[in-house]
């Protein structure tokens, strides 16, 4: 194991994959000269040349389409949005083109693209247009896989899997964990898409985390201490969902909480609830609960932002509520 940040882990994944496969290239704003505004591509232009590390103008539709067209011709682009919120300007290329062309062509066209959503997150007072976690949009549109690594290890392993996957993979990062050092296995490894991880076994309540919320839930569990035995599952991939892992846990606990940073309505949590009740109704001792951001655009002022995004207190409260729920 070695100690590195989420950003460094992804950077290493990119370098390894570019080394391994000359069809892999990187495209996005500012990725070339200075290694990206998050330092996510640092050193790659020097190492692999400006032919493979392509800085672009602020033209997300065009460069997303560029990646798509290149993928149709056999390349493996890694495409970057500087913040996930900016995907709104390129939704057509993503959802009408990238997601649909493989089917519409009768399978004649492949779309091996990794779409990195950099800088996703809340809590840094960047206001409504820089605070969205839009995984549910992509889970709603058939054609994508959607992953949300919450650790440096998963960031590296899932990024490598995404790059090797023949489907378009939406890869959602979180800016709050970019620069924290963590332990990552040395050398070559991948983390499979489609598998959740039981981070901590427990018997009272199952908590499924989506992306960054893992950190908040771990903090909540620490505070709760012995008062509740939580089985913590990091979903990691939100499309397709690893229902088996969720249901196996539910069979033990009978109680499930899903925590996401995104707005609750029509989010991944709602989808997990739909499937949990459809596939595990008899396992439930109480209603599944979802915690997400409240139903308003994210306000700037810290007092307001803290009130609308999931908090450790809210998570603790709901965990205890679930534990104590009597049918």
């Amino acid at each position: 194991m070695k100690s590195m940040t989420y950003i460094e882990a992804m950077n290493e994944a990119l370098a390894e994959e570019m080394e391994r496969d000359p069809s892999v290239f990187i495209i996005g704003e500012d990725v070339d000269v200075d290694g990206g505004v998050w330092k996510e591509t640092q050193g790659l232009a020097e190492r692999f040349g400006l032919e493979r590390v392509i800085g672009t103008p602020i033209s997300e539709s065009a460069f997303t389409g560029l990646a798509a067209g290149a993928a149709m011709c056999g390349l493996r682009p890694v495409l970057e949005f500087m913040y996930m919120d900016f995907v709104d300007v390129a939704m057509d290329q993503l959802c009408n083109q990238i997601a649909k062309l493989p089917l519409m062509s009768g399978g004649k066209v492949k779309m091996p693209i990794t779409i990195r959503m950099c800088g996703t997150g809340t809590g840094t007072r960047e206001a409504a247009q820089h605070s969205q976690s839009l995984e549910a949009w992509f889970a709603h549109i058939p054609g994508f896989k959607v992953v949300m690594p919450a650790t440096a290890k998963d960031a590296k392993g899932l990024l490598k899997s995404a790059i090797r996957d023949d489907s378009p993979v939406v890869f959602i990062e979180n800016r709050n964990i970019y620069y924290k050092k963590e332990l990552v296995p040395e050398g070559e490894f991948t983390v499979p898409i489609g598998e959740a991880e039981v981070v901590q076994a427990g018997s009272d309540v199952t908590v499924v985390t989506v992306g960054y919320s893992r950190s908040k839930v771990i903090a909540a569990i620490e505070k709760i201490g012995d008062a509740c035995s939580v089985e913590l599952i990091d979903a990691k991939t939100v499309d397709p969902l690893d229902m088996k892992t969720f249901l196996d846990s539910l069979a033990k606990t009978g109680r499930i909480l899903i925590v996401q940073e995104a707005h609750t309505e029509c989010g991944i949590g709602s989808e997990i609830v739909r499937r949990v009740v459809a596939e595990g109704f008899d396992l439930l001792d109480c209603p599944p609960v979802v915690i997400g951001s409240k139903n308003c655009p994210t306000p700037f002022s810290p007092v307001l932002e803290d009130a609308v995004i999931p908090s450790i207190n809210e998570i603790m409260g709901k965990i205890m509520l679930l534990k104590q729920y009597k049918i």
Partner: protein, 326 residues
């Protein structure tokens, strides 16, 4: 079945007759589609290419199989001109498993990547960035391929047009942007959609070279595309062709045509018609008798294509489910 879709020589009797035949194939194909649509054998959204044949054929004749074409909602002509695959197109329109997209795509989504036909597009302006990507791939791989993006004058008002031309120019990508200005976008006339319809002026904003082309004259198209190709293949960056033409048919199945008769009449004359035009330019190389013979040939090929499509099976739901439903 595939019909021959490319010749090497030009100006010869064989060349003229081949070009003529390919334009005729598109014309008659589209007329069949209209009938079959009315008869309920073809369905969905159908946009006919009638009247614009010179552009598709003039451009695609100059391309290799290894060059890429990205098409639009009005893509039958582009598909036929690039691939020559009449049967695959017809079967696709009838939703058959033998269709060029296995019946999954339909009129707006024909594909034949092996022949460089990279798909139609149901989103106006949606294909331009994709074409940019194929141009990028060609440069990345160091092949000599070019990427051609067809789009209407209506599409030239989408943001993707602007972004893609700028990016192509910056990165000196081998992109040829072919604007088919047929003077209408659905019911909207060009003067109501495009503040200045001279696309060369738009191209100049990105330092992109451009030529204005008579889109009803296949020889003019042909000259222009060859100029564009030598520019682009020399690594000098993108090129734009602004082809002036006219949409003689209604926009699509469901929309009535309320354009003034006088206007339509102008564009329905033999002088404007790209087929007559070519023949009149080469009366010696292409006689009436030869034309009549080509008509017979094309009709026979289309009969075969329709039969092929009709006799083809629909896609199997189980197989589709297995392959595509997650």
């Amino acid at each position: 079945m595939r019909v021959k879709n490319k010749i090497k020589e030009t100006g010869t009797a064989e060349a003229v007759s081949s070009i003529y035949k390919r334009m005729l194939t598109i014309r008659r194909f589209e007329e069949r589609v209209k009938q079959l649509y009315r008869g309920g054998e073809i369905y969905g959204a159908i946009h006919l290419y009638i009247g614009q044949e010179a552009i598709a054929v003039g451009v695609c004749d100059a391309l290799e199989d290894s060059d890429f074409v990205f098409s639009t909602h009005r893509g039958h002509g582009h598909y036929l001109a690039k691939t020559g695959d009449v049967s695959g197109a017809m079967a696709e329109l009838m939703g058959r498993a033998t269709g060029c997209s296995k019946g999954h795509g339909g009129s707006m989504h024909m594909f034949d990547p092996l022949k460089g036909f990279m798909g139609g597009n149901g989103i106006v302006g949606g294909g331009i960035p994709l074409a940019l990507g194929a141009a990028f791939a060609a440069k990345y791989k160091g092949t000599n391929a070019v990427s051609v993006s067809f789009f209407g004058e209506g599409a030239s008002n989408q943001g993707t047009f602007h972004e893609s031309l700028n990016l192509a120019a910056l990165k000196k990508l081998p992109l040829i942007a072919v604007c088919e200005n047929n003077r209408y976008a659905a019911t909207t006339p060009v003067k109501a959609s495009t503040a200045d319809e001279d696309m060369a002026k738009r191209a100049a904003g990105y330092n992109v070279q451009a030529l204005t082309v008579d889109g009803n004259d296949v020889e003019d198209v042909s000259q222009a595309i060859h100029k564009a190709l030598s520019h682009v293949r020399a690594g000098k960056g993108p090129f734009l062709l602004d082809c002036k033409t006219y949409r003689v048919e209604p926009h699509c199945g469901i929309i009535a045509d309320t354009r003034p008769d006088e206007e339509l009449a102008i564009w329905r004359t033999p002088e404007k018609d790209p087929l007559n035009r070519l023949q009149s330019q080469h009366p010696d190389l292409l006689t009436d008798k030869q034309v009549a013979h080509l008509e017979l040939e094309v009709n026979r090929e289309l009969d075969q294509a329709v039969d092929f499509a009709r006799q083809s099976p629909y896609p199997r739901v189980e197989q589709f489910t297995e392959e595509f439903i997650r």
